[in-house]
């Protein structure tokens, strides 16, 4: 296993080379995982659908309060990997997992792990906005209600705080009781993010959150991700390389179920160490 997770770039590496245009005006230094607090550790993760391997020996560390992006061609396993973090793959009968994922030192695949509790700590937002057939208020309050919170005051506060956090408050404050299906796609997606942060998770998983949205909504979500990383550890799967470059701190490139390269985003996009990565990010792939 190569040591790609300890990015070799140093603080003094100048921005240049490939794709430097993406980072024009960027005023930051190349980060290294060695300096980060680690939220999630993946070790030797293999995943099979029946007999077909979908993830092969994935080992990586995800830093706290950073945005980590997963890129790669379709079918490379990036969404599958993301769904491993909150054990969404448990729902698939034929799915089998080896290896471990540690969240702050606890193996989430341990025999006695509480899956519902895990999912409260690691929230998820999906590709297509999926509000529940309930009011806006009840959508955001859903997670808390599932935890047994009945106090109207606590619920109201949590709902207001979450909706404000995603910048939707001014748009919906007068119609919290109307059906969430009445919102636009972009609003729905932000509502879904509000729903996820209402239960105050530690990690948020975003599975191509903007692929079903128009450019303006996409920009709003990206902006939101920037803000949210102050409080949450964010993992995002995206097809859009420019998006990965814009919003992520670290990027993992995956291909055919393997983690090919994982480093600081700026470093990965400008000085990829693997030929496969370079082909992909320069659009020579496929």
């Amino acid at each position: 296993m190569t040591q790609f997770h300890t990015a070799t770039a140093t603080a003094s590496t100048p921005v240049g080379g490939l794709n430097s245009g993406l980072f024009e005006g960027a005023q930051r230094e190349i980060r290294s995982l060695r300096d980060e607090t680690i939220a999630l550790t993946v070790e030797g993760l293999n995943l099979y659908y029946g007999d077909t391997p979908a993830l092969k020996a994935v080992t990586m560390q995800v830093p706290t309060h950073r945005v980590t992006a997963f890129i790669g061609p379709s079918g490379c396993g990036k969404s599958t990997l993301l769904r491993c973090f909150n054990r969404m793959n448990d729902l698939i009968d034929s799915c089998r997992i080896e290896g471990s994922i540690n969240l702050k030192g606890e193996n989430i695949y341990a025999r006695d792990a509480d899956v519902a509790e895990l999912r409260r700590r690691i929230g998820m937002v999906f590709q297509k906005p999926n509000p529940f057939p309930k009011s806006i208020f009840e959508n955001v309050a859903y997670g808390l209600r599932m935890q047994g919170v009945k106090d109207k005051r606590i619920l109201t506060e949590a709902v207001e705080r979450s909706i404000k956090a995603v910048g939707l408050w001014d748009e919906v404050k007068d119609r919290l009781d109307s059906n969430a299906f009445g919102l636009s796609g972009g609003q729905q997606q932000r509502l879904v993010i509000a729903r996820a942060i209402a239960i105050e998770p530690e990690v948020i998983l975003l599975d191509e959150p903007t692929s079903a949205l128009d450019p303006i909504s996409t920009a709003k979500i990206e902006q939101l991700v920037e803000q949210l990383k102050e409080q949450y550890t964010i993992l995002i799967v995206t097809h859009n390389m420019a998006q990965a470059a814009r919003i992520s701190d670290y990027t993992a490139y995956m291909y055919l179920g393997e983690l090919i390269e994982y480093a600081d985003t700026m470093h990965l996009f400008t000085n990829p160490s693997k030929k496969s990565t370079e082909d992909y990010i320069t659009g020579r792939y496929g």
């Binding site: 969404m88 519902a116 999926n130 529940f132 859903y142 599932m146 299906f181 879904v192 996820a196």
Partner: protein
């Protein structure tokens, strides 16, 4: 030709043809029911004429309503021994409703046109709808009160109307006492008897308790005696008036007004009067109780029984079907066993309904009902309470019959809920059960309603199994009344479908029954439409509520 064939037009024609034939058949059926059903209540003109019996040459007076006419070949009648001239090819004959069953023994008769005299429509011909013996057709002669003549000629009709109204009021009062008040007392007497028997069986019958039962019974009997006295008085009062009518055969029978439901002179009615009469008759048919072995009167108990049975069935089948479907779709491990179960459930829908009836009779009524009686109603034995056909068993049998429909629809509804919604809920830390009840099931409610709609349509029209498990020709009481527990699940009920069968095919008076059958069928169809429209409205409301954007 080849190009036409290749263009796909034959397919379009074939499909459109299939649709047209289906539509024609459905609308044809509905039209027939509508025309015949609604036509039943119109007050038709009454003909007065003479008829010369072609065989005996005897001349008779005829008063009757022409029901229909048909054309026959002269040959056929000649062969039957009726002297039709040899050169006459076609002969018309008319079916007349004559009424006066008690005088002539013949409610309907055929008359050959050639032997009839002139048709006249005298304005004073009166139809009396009697509580027994069907209609009387004739002319009123005089009105009598306690044997004394009070009105004749011109003054008769208005006075008669007044007195008939009074008589009907008295009759309603009598029936109210009989049905409600005496019925109540009987119910309470029966309860005293059962209480006493229960105490006896348990060995808790002390002398004081027995004394209490005696006094309770005495109080009820006293109440009964008072009512009995009132009834006697009312009946005596109601026997006061009578009318003498002249029948076409010259007889002049005296008919007491208490025997008459309604009287009208159709030849003397204007169109608005006929319309008013029609509406009144139609309403009377819906809210009235059947008389004379169901061949006369209304069908209210049958409508009521059908509705209550369908509602109880819906209450039974919905939770069963929905829970079963949720288990099959959401929890059960998909495999060979589940596939077998699912195929079995689907095939349940193909089992002949009479088999369900036999099963209901054997398993529900004799086995389960018998056990219930022995456990909970030992005091009523040997008379069965639940161990006999009744509303509950009829509803349960129908619930079983319609279960596959509800299960299939619900399963399809559940399968259509996008996985993303389930995942969204699970990702928030909800358990599978919470996800199901909070997100998945509410979204599947329109599909469940669809299942229920199909179930209602099937159940309301079902007859065969019901004959075995709780529907009777004539139920003495309605399944809902003012006595605790208000809904009496053990009672037998009447049912529109069975009513059609009974009136149409078990009645001695087939000609009279025909129109009632159409009218009853019409009501049944309307009832199913109303029940379905209600369910569809609820479903559309739910759909609107859970409509996803871009869905």
């Amino acid at each position: 030709m080849t190009t036409w064939w290749k263009s796909g037009s034959p397919w379009v024609w074939l499909n459109a043809g299939a649709v047209s034939i289906s539509i024609i058949m459905v609308f044809g059926l509905l039209l027939l029911i509508l025309v015949r059903g609604f036509g039943n209540f119109w007050p038709h003109q009454i003909v007065e004429t003479t008829y010369e019996n072609p065989v005996t040459g005897e001349q008779v007076e005829v008063i009757g309503e022409r029901r229909r006419s048909e054309t026959l070949t002269g040959q056929a009648l000649r062969e039957a021994g009726i002297p039709i001239p040899d050169d006459q090819v076609l002969v018309t004959r008319h079916l007349f409703k004559l009424g006066n069953r008690d005088l002539t023994g013949q409610d309907f008769a055929y008359f050959i046109d050639d032997f009839m005299g002139e048709w006249r429509y005298p304005r004073d011909i009166t139809v009396l709808e009697r509580r027994e013996w069907g209609d009387f057709l004739g002319t009123p002669v005089r009105l009598i009160e306690d044997g004394q003549v009070v009105a004749e000629g011109e003054a008769l009709w208005p006075e008669f109307q007044k007195r008939l109204a009074r008589s009907n009021r008295l009759f309603d009062e009598i029936r109210q006492i009989e049905r409600e008040e005496i019925g109540n007392i009987n119910f309470r007497l029966e309860r005293v008897r059962l209480d006493q028997r229960r105490a006896e069986l348990r060995g808790t019958l002390t002398p004081e308790l027995e004394q209490e039962f005696v006094s309770r019974r005495a109080a009820l009997n006293e109440e009964y005696a008072v009512l009995q006295e009132r009834l006697r008085n009312l009946s005596a009062e109601n026997r006061r008036d009578a009318i003498v009518m002249r029948a076409p055969n010259g007889e002049e029978p005296t008919i007491r007004l208490e025997q008459i439901v309604k009287a009208w002179q159709p030849n003397n009615m204007s169109i608005p009067a006929k319309v008013a009469f029609y509406i009144d008759d139609f309403i009377g048919f819906i809210v009235g109780y059947p008389r004379e072995a169901n061949t006369e009167g209304g069908i209210f108990p049958a409508i009521f029984g059908t509705v209550v049975m369908v509602l109880v069935m819906s209450i039974l089948v919905t939770p069963f079907g929905v829970l079963a479907a949720i288990y099959l779709r959401e929890y059960a491990k998909q495999g060979a066993l589940l596939k077998t179960i699912r195929i079995s459930v689907y095939n349940l829908a193909g089992v002949p309904s009479i088999v369900f009836g036999v099963f209901g009779l054997g398993f529900f009524i004799y086995l389960t009902g018998g056990a219930i009686d022995r456990t909970f109603y030992p005091e009523a034995l040997p008379a069965p309470t639940f161990g006999t056909p009744g509303l509950f068993w009829a509803s349960l049998t129908l619930a079983l019959l319609t279960l596959p429909v509800v299960i299939v629809s619900t399963e399809e509804g559940l399968a259509r809920i996008p996985a993303s919604l389930r995942e969204g809920s699970l990702a928030l830390g909800a358990t599978k059960g919470e996800t199901l009840w909070q997100v998945v099931v509410p979204l599947a409610t329109p599909a469940m309603m669809t299942g229920l709609i199909l179930a209602i349509a099937r159940a309301a029209g079902e007859v065969a199994p019901l004959m075995l498990v709780g529907v009777v020709k004539l139920a003495p009481t309605l399944p809902i009344d003012g006595n605790f527990p208000f809904l009496h699940l053990e009672r037998k009920i009447m049912h529109l479908g069975f009513h059609i069968y009974d009136v149409g095919f078990q009645s001695p008076n087939a000609e009279a029954a025909e129109q009632l059958v159409y009218a009853t069928a019409l009501i049944l169809v309307l009832l199913i439409v109303v029940l379905n429209l209600t369910a569809i409205t609820v479903r559309n409301h739910l759909r609107e509520k859970y409509r996803a954007e871009g869905d």
